[in-house]
Symmetry: C2
């Protein structure tokens, strides 16, 4: 089966794209050297509204309301933003999600909390191909709690869980290949063995629908600076299913997680709900980008975003098959639309050098060791002609 990969087809796809108008909501890329931005899965582009809201926040909320803004608005932000993110992107009912800290810190807290909920079990299971932070934290938490790490390959992770498994932690979408793990199925199997699952949603949130409540998920974390366009190092999120709240404990017991933050109590009494997952003072400036990114996603709808991500993925595959496979590239991502997330990874023996050349020539992809070139597809900003231009340039530079 051949696909029409003509410039006219690209233009038609762009013309028919229901989300095309959303691109105008983003700050234009001022650099004329940029041919295509295909790294929104590492760092999403800024919304115009974020720049404007930051100015307002500094001048009016912070500069005008001063300390009063904490009571009036900011103290509630971790939960308010979490609820909105839960509704728009996570399939999570209110009261189970907070926006706070970094993904690393949120993952540390949830791994500790989950392990404490399964005393007597002595194994943490994860995937050898999981993102470094996730693997490192699994080892760190296992070492401090005296647990054994059981390593699985992506394909068999549900199968290695057993009666000794306290916690399984996995990435919903693989950062290298974009392969989607069946969140509901894995959760079910681990629950059958009596274990808990901590999901890393970094590469799925804002790119494909996540249905945490429907899957009966336990815990999840993720970042907001990829498909949610919240900005470099924007705060992360942490989801804990309401059924775990009463017993949820975490070790970074700062004042914001206490039942009465300003009570200056003698003893730490955790806040009753998801707020107990908080620690330090909420990072208000960083939350502005989260707020704007989530609001734009709400407007676009995760269903339309996913549909366009699938179409963009097919487009990359068609172009790669026609132009790049003959040059020695292979496709590392699943061809099955239902199993592929928001990027496509091409493998090439010379990927590292080639990536540098591509970036110098304005094709902003990213390289992942040992031999992957990731083509990130951000449905709110990425266009079909833009992708074609980039693939054409890869063909030229790799040829």
């Amino acid at each position: 089966m051949t696909t029409d990969i003509s410039p006219a087809r690209a233009d038609r796809l762009d013309a028919e794209d229901e989300l095309a108008a959303f691109r105008e909501r983003f700050v234009p890329i001022g650099d004329p050297g940029v041919v295509a931005y295909l790294d929104g899965n590492s760092l999403g582009r800024p919304l115009r509204a974020t720049a404007e809201r930051l100015r307002e926040l500094v001048e009016h909320e912070w500069g005008g309301r001063l300390i009063r803004a904490w009571e009036e608005r900011w103290l509630a932000l971790p939960e308010e933003l979490g609820d909105e993110l839960g509704r728009v992107a996570l399939g999570a009912a209110p009261g189970q999600t907070i926006v706070a800290d970094s993904t690393s810190v949120c993952l540390y807290k949830t791994l500790r909390a989950a392990a404490a909920l399964r005393p007597g079990r002595d194994e943490i299971v994860t995937d050898t191909a999981n993102f470094p932070t996730d693997r490192f934290l699994v080892e760190s938490v296992a070492a401090e709690l005296g647990l054994t790490v059981r390593w699985a390959e992506s394909e068999d992770v549900a199968a290695v869980a057993g009666p000794r498994t306290a916690v399984v932690t996995l990435s919903h979408v693989d950062y290298r290949t974009a392969a989607i793990t069946d969140l509901a199925a894995v959760t079910r199997v681990v629950h059958e063995h009596g274990g808990l699952v901590v999901w890393d949603l970094c590469h799925s949130v804002g790119s494909l629908p996540v249905e945490l409540d429907a899957a009966g998920a336990d815990f999840a974390v993720g970042c907001t600076y990829k498909f949610l366009n919240a900005g470099p190092g924007a705060p992360a999120f942490l989801y804990a299913n309401a059924r775990h709240h009463a017993a949820f404990g975490q070790p970074v017991t700062g004042w914001m997680g206490a039942a009465d933050t300003f009570g200056m109590a003698a003893e730490y009494v955790p806040a009753p709900g998801i707020r107990r997952a908080l620690s330090g003072t909420p990072p208000v400036l960083g939350m502005v980008g989260v707020q704007e990114g989530v609001a734009l996603l709400a407007e676009a709808g995760i269903g339309r975003v996913r549909a366009k991500a699938v179409a963009l993925g097919r487009w990359v595959l068609a172009l790669a098959d026609a132009w790049l496979v003959p040059l020695g590239f292979t496709i590392a991502s699943p061809r099955d639309d239902d199993r592929r997330g928001g990027h496509v990874t091409l493998r090439h023996p010379d990927a590292e050098r080639l990536s540098h050349v591509l970036i110098e020539h304005g094709v902003l992809i990213d390289f992942r060791r040992p031999d992957g070139i990731r083509i990130g597809l951000s449905p709110l900003t990425t266009g079909f002609a833009e992708v074609r231009r980039a693939m054409d340039r890869i063909r030229e530079l790799a040829g």
Copy 2:
């Protein structure tokens, strides 16, 4: 001894104030209802430059350089900003300070790291009057490591340290009374017993000179949103003396603390220096305020800032003695200039209700249970006539 507290004196003090011109560098308080802002020790006011730099960052660095900005600039920020903060405000040579996370998370990491450096010792010492987050974290870390918490009163904390003491943690300036603890003396005594000290500098950084290296300090943490004016929930900082780096370990082993962040290695190998204290992706937007706040402090000089803080403190005491002590207020802060930090706390049996009334009338102080009204003095923004107006209003409303 009576002090001249006339309006003319206030004007003269403002006229002679070398730092008065710095007020123009801040966003004006747009709210005409604000009589005086005396809560910069909770939330410093925004600099005009911060609003401007945020716009630049969003539009040019993030929007223009996109993912390339990480390599070009952002990845180095935690250490670059840390070095500058260390030079300007902490008496710390380069390579020992990072800007990252929240104070709670930084304190958790340093308490864990310090305890691990003193195996075989089974006590953590802190002060019953320490800030809630600090006390809560001491208890949390003690519980997870099987240590005993030994509680001291502020006055005797050095005396209770002994051969079983692994770690002492204290606030340099007391959040309620502004009493300064002798950082060098306490560090020396604890070292004599073989223990380590973790200093909380939240209420001293940017307000008075701190000399960590000269004191042979071990670890320190603090926030940047008070006297450094970095913004609500701006990132915190963590100092670890270079002599501890080789053995420094912390449990939140995210990719940014690894020796080769993008190596995607099988095992966590900590970065060689202070970078091993990092975990997640640096919060770039929040760092803008830190950068501008530190730059302004560098321009003003911590010596001049401290001198004005002392003068403002004396001014508050003179006004309080004349007007408020007769109304039933007492002074909770040290009268000795050398022992008083950047705020003055007044006690009153009806402080809670009175604080609400004051805030409604535009005198922005803050209340600290059970009976404290804190008068925060931010030398870069606070004026002598402003303080007099506020104290006059307190007299009127409490009378």
